[in-house]
């Protein structure tokens, strides 16, 4: 058997920190990066006698996500305790959901090179985050920071329906996009507000039974989702090809070495002794509440993509790129005024605008160019006032200064030269200066045409109408040829 005869089976377990102002079961702030233990109270540090009270905003956020991911929202769900000892877990148990989660089923659609792929979800549930152990402050002691303890999380679990590392990464990006549209999670994998564990197994292509899986933890960037899974598939293939056997275990992705390392085997796995949380009432959600929340949902990327393709005739690629971030889509839609060609707007956005935003590390809503200003620039190109090349430098100026295209063009005298006489003069000058090249052209080196056009553009500081330059150069050179 060779490695191409294997197929990977991948399921993801994603933890997303909810963007609520306060924690899941107490009133402490969820702000990131504060002084250790400055955002704690008797409830989130698990003092004796305290009780949790559910954050209703967190529930609303999870229901919102469930609706966006096509889940069934449970009318009756329940919190459960997940029991284990660890210093960053102040109560000795995590309040989570177990047998009755808030969202069940659901799916996400991916547009891959091989077409549409529907990835099923198992569930989404609510839970609280743990704190953080700090080991590098002292040789003798470890410290515990409980600022994060009790931060609301949702866990999103997919069915084992992902087949390639690329799909897994695509899933994560799409999920991130949806969460950000909903405003429920900032999707920052590096800061840990979006975390992903991957269950990976392989089997012979065509086999229906699942292979033994390994759970990969500590994947903390989009790039590593793909790399870690890719490594793990390769590792499992090598084990099987060498006649070995995969063992069920938890493995850690090691960023430094780019490999996964065994953390604990199934035998060492915790028995979490789940049982219903007696301190909280079951969560009862009526149809009315679900519909009220549904009404607050924005148009989601998937629907936008459809609309952009159908109504604006954009290629799928453009539509996906423009809708990935809500602010980008908003910018695009605001530019669709004055009968502008949507594809022209898309080209400018995906090209120059994205390039400059990336170079300056700016979010689109902080961009000095307004969508309407871009349409003005496009109109000037269409009218022939400036050439496409000049437009690029005009756009850059607009980006840096916030000035409008027309002003820049006037100020810098960038109006395109479209008068035949003026161009004729420049062409003549170029020909006179380059008689040797004229000879060579006549001798059959027709590719020198480009050289002449280039010289003319240079001499006109790029302002000459390129189409006219082309015409005139050709006419003159060829004319000269017939003259003699």
């Amino acid at each position: 058997m060779s490695s191409s005869e294997f197929e990977a089976v991948i399921g993801l377990e994603i933890h997303a920190q909810l963007l609520t102002k306060t924690k899941m079961f107490c009133g402490c702030s969820t702000k990131f990066g504060s002084e250790p233990n400055s955002q704690t109270c008797p409830i989130c540090i698990g003092m004796p006698g305290v009780l949790p009270v559910m954050n209703k905003n967190a529930l609303e956020f999870v229901i919102k996500t469930g609706i966006a991911m096509n889940c069934t929202i449970a009318h009756f769900s329940r919190f459960a305790r997940k029991n284990y000892f660890y210093p960053d877990l102040p109560k000795g148990y995590q309040i989570s959901q177990y047998e009755l989660p808030i969202c069940q089923g659901g799916h996400l659609v991916l547009h891959t090179q091989d077409g549409e792929r529907v990835i099923g979800l198992t569930r989404i549930h609510m839970e609280e985050d743990a704190g953080k152990n700090i080991h590098d402050n002292s040789d003798k002691y470890s410290f515990v920071d409980l600022n994060r303890a009790g931060t609301p999380l949702m866990e999103i679990v997919t069915e084992p329906e992902i087949r390639t590392p690329a799909e897994a990464s695509m899933f994560m990006r799409k999920l991130r996009s949806i969460l950000r549209y909903l405003g429920v999670c900032d999707g920052n994998m590096e800061e840990g507000s979006l975390r992903c564990d991957a269950n990976v197994s392989i089997r012979a292509r065509g086999e229906l039974a699942l292979g033994v899986k390994a759970e990969i933890k500590n994947i903390n960037s989009f790039k590593f989702v793909e790399k870690a899974i890719e490594y793990e598939i390769g590792r499992q293939e090598r084990v099987l090809l060498d006649g070995g056997r995969i063992v069920q275990e938890t493995r850690l992705w090691d960023v430094a070495t780019g490999v996964t390392k065994s953390m604990r085997s199934k035998e060492e796995a915790h028995d979490y002794r789940y049982f219903p949380e007696p301190d909280l009432m079951p969560v009862v959600v009526s149809n009315e509440i679900i519909e009220t929340i549904r009404a607050t949902l924005p148009e989601l990327p998937e629907d936008k993509v459809k609309r952009y393709v159908e109504r604006y005739k954009l290629p799928l690629y453009d539509a996906e790129l423009l809708t990935n971030e809500q602010q980008t889509a908003k910018w695009f839609e605001e530019a669709l005024v004055n009968g502008v060609n949507p594809k022209a707007v898309s080209n400018w956005m995906m090209g120059e605008l994205m390039r400059l935003l990336n170079e300056n590390n700016l979010p689109i809503d902080k961009c000095k160019v307004s969508p309407v200003h871009l349409t003005e620039l496009i109109a000037l190109i269409d009218k022939g006032t400036i050439s496409g090349t000049i437009a690029k430098s005009v756009f850059e100026e607009m980006f840096n200064t916030g000035k409008r295209a027309e002003g820049i063009i006037k100020e810098k005298g960038l109006v395109q030269i479209s008068d035949e006489g003026s161009i004729d003069k420049i062409v003549e000058e170029v020909i006179q200066k380059n008689l040797k090249e004229v000879e060579r052209y006549k001798g059959g080196e027709v590719k020198l045409m480009g050289f002449f056009v280039g010289q003319v553009m240079k001499l006109s500081k790029g302002k000459a109408n390129p189409a006219m330059v082309n015409d005139i150069v050709k006419r003159k050179l060829d004319g000269k040829a017939t003259d003699e």
């Binding site: 003092m47 006698g49 009780l51 559910m54 210093p87 109560k91 000795g92 002794r273």
Partner: protein
């Protein structure tokens, strides 16, 4: 009569006419503490005497100025030491929390302070409220004030002894499986476990969260109504508290009309002490003579109550007590090699034997492969027992029964026989499994001069009916005595 020996209503009347002051009451209580506490050992912590007198004086001054004073009128109230009191140590009678001082008040403590009750100190209990005799405290054994060779019952043994020994006027206890009612019965005082959710649990150190309820220990039913009035009500800090308005219990004490009283036949079977049985039967005939209708009812699932209770309580306890790990507060073992060693030594030496026994039982009953057979089955039994009671309350208004199969037993008699001790909870755990309100009212004495209590139970949130029935029974007992 000494002030310390009077009940809350008698003292309130004297305070209202300014015949006595809070300071005089406090002073009388301290006389009694000086006399009795050495033998009875009701308290783990008594607050600084000077501080208490200052508090009493302040209330007296306000009364002189005709300021509004809360309905607790500056009366000294003891608090079971598993209820958090800001700036006052809260130990749960455990080495684990020996030096723990909460930075917050339990909701009911706030309410008592607002009602101008004076918290005099913290009473002894079985460690983390696990036990039935107050012998399982890490610090001391509380004795029965009626005979100090006998246990006061438990786990609110300190609370009940403090009231019975006149070392306070009223007390707050907690009841997870009879922990207020059984010691009230043993000590000859009135003990109420309200409906689950009627009183906020915020600040009550959890043992079995779905069973735990804070309640009152008083000298009579009228005082019970007074103290319940203060502590009852919904609490935004306790999601399991019930959002129902609080009736005026004190005004609803007189019984209107005749009751149908149910006697569960399963409760008068084998194992019930004859003196206890006779005392309860006496109550039944008094009620019958008073014109109430007495009928036999059945609670068929009674035999499963004790196992269901211990499985549920221990399962929840195994999780509730996980937070005592030496990391954040409380006891931490010294000289430990690594994290696991720290956990093992801290929990191994910080908890007493009974607590460790219940943590182990609960860990087992929640474990993979055993959960369905134990925890889940116990949950089903709870539902079945609740259905038994729902059916019974279609036929009757009040259920009357013993509180415990016996009166108080000797110290040490059952301490090493946990099973025998667990079986003593047979009549009391049912109110916790079902969440129903139940009260223990003193109803007689054994030949060896130990008190006997009778238990009344009624429908959820119907404390007014429960208290008025108990009040009537109390009056009937007083006439014959």
């Amino acid at each position: 009569m000494k002030l310390s020996h009077m009940n809350a209503h008698e003292l309130k009347a004297l305070l209202a006419t300014k015949e006595v002051s809070c300071k005089e009451i406090m002073s009388s209580i301290f006389d009694e503490i000086d006399k009795r506490e050495y033998d009875v050992a009701a308290y783990i912590h008594i607050r600084d005497k000077k501080e208490l007198f200052t508090e009493a004086e302040k209330i007296d001054n306000r009364r002189l100025k005709a300021d509004n004073i809360g309905i607790l009128d500056g009366l000294p109230i003891s608090i079971k030491d598993n209820i958090c009191t800001k700036a006052i140590p809260t130990t749960c009678a455990s080495k684990m929390l020996e030096n723990f001082v909460p930075p917050y008040d339990a909701t009911i403590i706030k309410k008592i302070r607002q009602a101008d009750g004076i918290i005099i100190g913290k009473t002894n209990l079985d460690e983390f409220a696990m036990g039935s005799s107050t012998e399982h405290s890490a610090f001391k054994i509380t004795k029965n004030p009626h005979n100090t060779d006998y246990v006061p019952g438990g786990t609110s043994g300190g609370a009940c002894a403090s009231v019975a020994a006149n070392e306070c006027i009223m007390a707050i206890g907690s009841d997870t499986g009879g922990s207020i009612r059984q010691p009230a019965s043993f000590c000859g005082v009135t003990g109420l476990k309200p409906t689950y959710g009627r009183v906020s649990r915020f600040g009550l150190v959890a043992y079995g969260s779905s069973l735990d309820q804070i309640g009152t220990v008083t000298k009579n039913v009228k005082d019970t109504a007074l103290l319940l009035q203060v502590i009852a009500g919904v609490d935004s800090l306790d999601a399991t508290s019930v959002d129902e308005s609080v009736p005026n219990y004190c005004d609803l004490l007189s019984l209107n009309g005749k009751l149908t009283v149910g006697i569960p036949k399963e409760f008068f079977a084998e194992g019930l002490d004859h003196e206890v049985e006779n005392a309860v039967k006496n109550c039944i005939s008094l009620l019958e003579k008073d014109g109430h209708n007495v009928i036999e009812i059945s609670i068929p699932h009674t035999p499963y109550a004790v196992p269901a209770y211990y499985i549920t309580a221990c399962s929840e306890a195994s999780s509730n007590l996980a937070r005592y790990d030496g990391v954040k507060y409380g006891y931490r073992a010294t000289d430990t090699k690594n994290l696991m060693d720290m956990y093992l030594k801290t929990r191994g030496s910080g908890f007493g034997a009974e607590v460790k026994r219940r943590i182990m039982l609960g860990t087992y009953t929640l474990s993979a492969g055993y959960y369905d057979a134990f925890y889940l089955k116990a949950a089903k039994v709870r539902t079945l027992i609740a259905q038994d009671f729902a059916k019974a309350f279609e036929l009757c208004d009040i259920i009357i029964s013993p509180v415990a199969p016996t009166a108080a037993y000797k110290i040490g008699e059952k301490a090493d026989d946990p099973l025998a001790m667990y079986l003593g909870d047979i009549y009391s755990v049912i109110a916790n499994l079902t969440g129903l309100p139940a009260i223990s009212v003193p109803c007689g004495w054994t030949t060896s001069r130990l008190p006997i209590g009778v238990q009344l139970t009624t429908r959820a949130l119907n404390e007014p009916l429960l208290l008025s029935a108990a009040y009537r029974l109390e009056q009937l007992l007083a006439t014959v005595a």
